[in-house]
């Protein structure tokens, strides 16, 4: 089968473009417009989008992640256009509520809700630093946060911003859903119900798809959609073992990039933001972290916790293989593909491969690779599922 064209290799030592945690800003080629008419590009205040970038096919993908929300649609000839927003918001002090024009001039998106003013997404982090305040997160550990009372309205506004209006009523929107965790008592029913209801209200027909399964769609086309995928997010890691696009084993663990930051900060006695910056290679030293060659004690601590997390995931995968009765027998070696913001750190695939060798899974493994565009793997997989749904 022909490989997808225009695949881009992520250099090992580059800084992640859209990491799972707050400090770095993402890069983009163009700036698109707001959600007034789907994702069709009309001239926006800062837009330089080509007028031919109209959406050509029905179906939307949506990655509902702890750290980032992403939406995708098809433009051109199968080219996906992705919109991303940090999954965070900031309530502004009262003195800002009378000066909204200033926020617009500063290109800070806000929304007024229940007599309060909120800044959403990427801009919330900048303003939080400025105001010495903390951003609030609607999601925790992969699911809607039970402790955040404004979680649902904020998710609604961000989804409106990312998706806009459907191109036709009831357009299919496939959204990512984590598998139940094997190490915590989380319940997908409430989360799934709320996200489905929100998308319904926005005029879409919602369909959930397992996060790991979405990566199977987007990354394993050359392997007949057979292999193992690991979505490495900020709140959790999702694993899927698929055979010809059918998921045989899916599970998640409630540890992710945030878990690494928290533990490194604790054992090193440093602020958590510093631990995050070290992990993402965005310290003032300007040198990116390479897990295969740590330079400082703090970097060694990061490597330690990365290895611990990867080993934990693989041990549980091995146990699932040994306990599950309906795991397919793979006669050929299969590929392992990792994706997600937490996998963007340099040297990740090397240490993943090392840990994989020491675990000795009961199936033959061909190799480990990172998705070429690891940040958008999940949302592209959701878009593929939506396109199949709409187009048959």
């Amino acid at each position: 089968m022909a490989a997808d064209t225009d695949s881009v290799k992520v250099p090992e030592n580059s800084s992640p473009e859209h990491p799972a945690t707050p400090s770095a800003q993402g890069k983009s080629d163009t700036k698109g417009n707001g959600p007034t008419k789907g994702m069709a590009a009309t001239q926006g205040a800062s837009g330089n989008v080509s007028p031919t970038d109209d959406i050509v096919a029905l179906g939307r993908g949506l990655d509902v992640g702890t750290a980032n929300l992403l939406s995708a649609a098809q433009v051109g000839d199968g080219e996906p256009v992705v919109r991303a927003e940090r999954n965070a918001f900031l309530q502004l002090p009262k003195e800002f509520t009378v000066n909204r024009q200033m926020l617009t001039n500063l290109k800070v998106p806000y929304v007024a809700y229940e007599d309060r003013l909120y800044v959403l997404g990427n801009s919330s982090f900048d303003l939080a630093n400025l105001l010495s305040n903390e951003v609030r997160r609607p999601m925790l550990g992969g699911f809607l946060s039970p402790n955040e009372r404004d979680a649902i309205p904020m998710i609604r506004f961000m989804l409106e911003r990312l998706l806009g209006e459907p191109n036709e009523p009831g357009e299919a929107c496939w959204y990512s859903l984590p598998a139940p965790s094997i190490d915590s008592d989380n319940d997908t029913v409430y989360h799934e119900g709320v996200v489905s209801s929100l998308l319904n209200k926005l005029g879409f027909t919602p369909r959930p798809i397992n996060e790991g399964h979405a990566i199977v769609y987007s990354e394993l086309g050359d392997s007949d959609f057979t292999g193992i995928t690991v979505s490495c997010g900020g709140g959790m890691f999702n694993v899927c073992v698929a055979y010809r696009a059918i998921p045989a084993v899916t599970f998640s663990v409630s540890r992710g990039g945030d878990w690494i930051d928290e533990h490194v900060a604790r054992v090193m006695g440093i602020p958590r933001t510093r631990a995050t910056a070290i992990k993402e290679g965005s310290t003032s030293e300007g040198r990116g972290l390479n897990l295969a060659a740590p330079q400082t004690r703090e970097e060694e601590a990061v490597v330690l916790y990365y290895r611990s997390l990867i080993s934990y995931v693989l041990q549980n995968l091995k146990q699932r293989f040994e306990l599950a009765q309906d795991v397919p027998q793979f006669s050929e070696p299969v590929e392992v593909v990792v994706a997600g913001g937490t996998s963007l750190v340099g040297g990740f695939t090397e240490i993943f491969a090392e840990e994989l060798r020491s675990v000795s899974l009961p199936i033959p493994i061909k190799g480990v690779r990172r998705a070429d565009d690891a940040f958008t793997s999940v949302v592209r997989g959701c878009l593929i599922a939506a396109a199949l749904d709409e187009q048959g």
């Binding site: 089968m1 996906p80 007024a112 990312l162």
Partner: protein, 462 residues
């Protein structure tokens, strides 16, 4: 007994007392009358009540008090013992620490003294070195004087040789010069000897001083080595003592932590026990309730079955009675027919007609009975089913779409004011196209021949 109680009892006694005079008793034929003093009666009542209360309360209180006191005594004994052990240990450790500190102080003083000795020997060494340098300088000076004398003697000799060419004066002068030269030479030798002696003496003195200094140095080195050895031993002893002290302190801390941990665990176990006891009580209650319900259901079921049986039996009896009656009637009729046939002679057609009519009537009656029986049975069975349903009814779960209601409430609050239409949003184009993947999956679906109604690969988590 307090006054109020006494008044109450008095009131009761007054209420139930019968007042009569002695004359009335005499009139009634009573010879003797037994009288009880009201006060004594109250006293007896009080005594009885007190006895009853104190025996009951005393027994209970004594039992509980004894148990509580015993338990408290045991607990107190344990705590006191533990506290005593820990206090003794702490005192021993404190004593050990004091001893170590004292020893450390002594060793430090000794070290200072040895250091002073070392300084003194160093000073002596320096002094000897200075003396040696002084002697050497004197020897050099003596050598320089000897050289000068030698040069003077040579000059005198040259003068004596020049005087040979002259006459006797020259010889005399030469002889004199020779004598002078010899004298000078003697003086030179003497001087040289003296100088050599002085040099030798100086060298001897220097050598002596050097030896003394070397000896001092050797002694100082030995002393220093010895002192350093002792200092090392003192240091290692001190380190050992410190380590031991730290280990003991750590042990005490660990014991304290373990004690606190055990206490915490004890509390947790107690809480867990209480929870389990409560759960067990709740389970027992639930079991009793369910047993009761089951009994009721069983009774209802038995009643229904009995009703059904009764109805069936009744209908069956009725049917049988009716059938028996009909049969008797049939037999009677047949008898009558036979008699009639005998009396009138054979009339087959008439007899057949009558028999046919009787059979038809009988069949109709039997069908009617059967129909009534079936209806009764059906009613009884329905009643039984209703009874069973009533007994086994459970609430039906009706899932409510709470999330829809919640989300609707948020949307019903109306559109929020925002500046979205004035601002753009970051857009990135992924370098990976999806067209091929879509085609491949569509082909895969075709190979698996999905039915038109088969769902797309929507995954709820496994």
């Amino acid at each position: 007994m307090n006054k109020r109680t006494i008044r109450d009892v008095r009131g009761v006694l007054d209420q139930h007392a019968e007042r009569r005079s002695l004359k009335d008793y005499a009139r009634a034929g009573k010879q003797t009358v037994r009288a009880i003093s009201e006060e004594k009666l109250l006293g007896l009542l009080e005594a009885v009540v007190d006895e009853a209360i104190s025996s009951e309360a005393g027994a209970v209180a004594k039992r509980d008090r004894g148990r509580i006191v015993a338990a408290a005594r045991d607990q107190l004994g344990k705590v006191m013992k533990t506290q005593g052990d820990l206090s003794a240990k702490i005192e021993r450790q404190a004593a050990t620490i004091d001893e170590s500190n004292t020893r450390i102080d002594a060793l430090v003083a000794e070290r200072d003294a040895l250091q002073a000795l070392i300084d003194q020997s160093k000073q002596a060494e320096e002094k000897a070195t200075q003396q040696t340098a002084e002697a050497q300088r004197k020897a050099e000076q003596a050598t320089a004087r000897a050289d000068e004398s030698a040069r003077a003697a040579e000059e005198a000799q040259r003068a004596a040789q020049a005087a040979d060419t002259r006459a006797e004066q020259a010889e005399r002068e030469a002889a004199e010069a020779t004598q002078q030269a010899e004298q000078a030479s003697r003086e030179r030798d003497l001087l040289r000897t003296e100088t050599l002696a002085a040099v030798k003496a100086a060298e001897a003195a220097t050598e002596k001083q050097r030896q003394a200094a070397s000896e001092n140095l050797r002694m100082s080195d030995e002393t220093i080595a010895k002192l350093e050895g002792e200092l090392g031993a003192v240091r290692s002893d001190r380190r050992r003592d410190k380590d031991r002290t730290a280990a003991l302190q750590t042990e005490v801390r660990e014991r304290d932590e373990k004690f606190a941990q055990l206490k915490g665990e004890f509390g947790e176990l107690r809480a867990r026990l209480e929870e389990r006891t409560a759960a067990l009580a709740a389970a027992r209650e639930e079991l009793a309730r369910q047993s009761q319900e089951l009994r009721v259901a069983q009774e209802l079921s038995r009643e229904a079955v009995a009703a059904q049986e009764t109805a069936r039996h009744h209908d069956s009896e009725q049917a049988q009675t009716a059938i028996a009656a009909l049969q008797r009637e049939l037999h009677a009729m047949q008898g009558t027919l036979g008699a009639m046939a005998e009396q009138r002679g054979p009339d087959d057609s008439t007899v057949e007609a009558i028999v046919a009519r009787l059979s038809h009537q009988e069949q109709a009656a039997a069908r009617d009975l059967e129909k009534r029986f079936d209806e009764t049975l059906g009613r009884a069975l329905s009643e039984v089913e209703r009874s069973l349903r009533r007994v086994s009814a459970r609430p039906v779960d009706h899932p409510v779409e709470a999330t829809d209601a919640l989300v609707s409430k948020i949307f019903d609050q109306g559109a929020a004011a925002s500046n979205y239409d004035q601002l753009g949003i970051e857009v990135r184009r992924s370098p990976r196209r999806i067209g091929n993947s879509i085609e491949q999956l569509r082909a895969l679906r075709g190979k698996r021949a999905p039915s038109p109604d088969s769902p797309p690969p929507s995954e709820t988590p496994s």
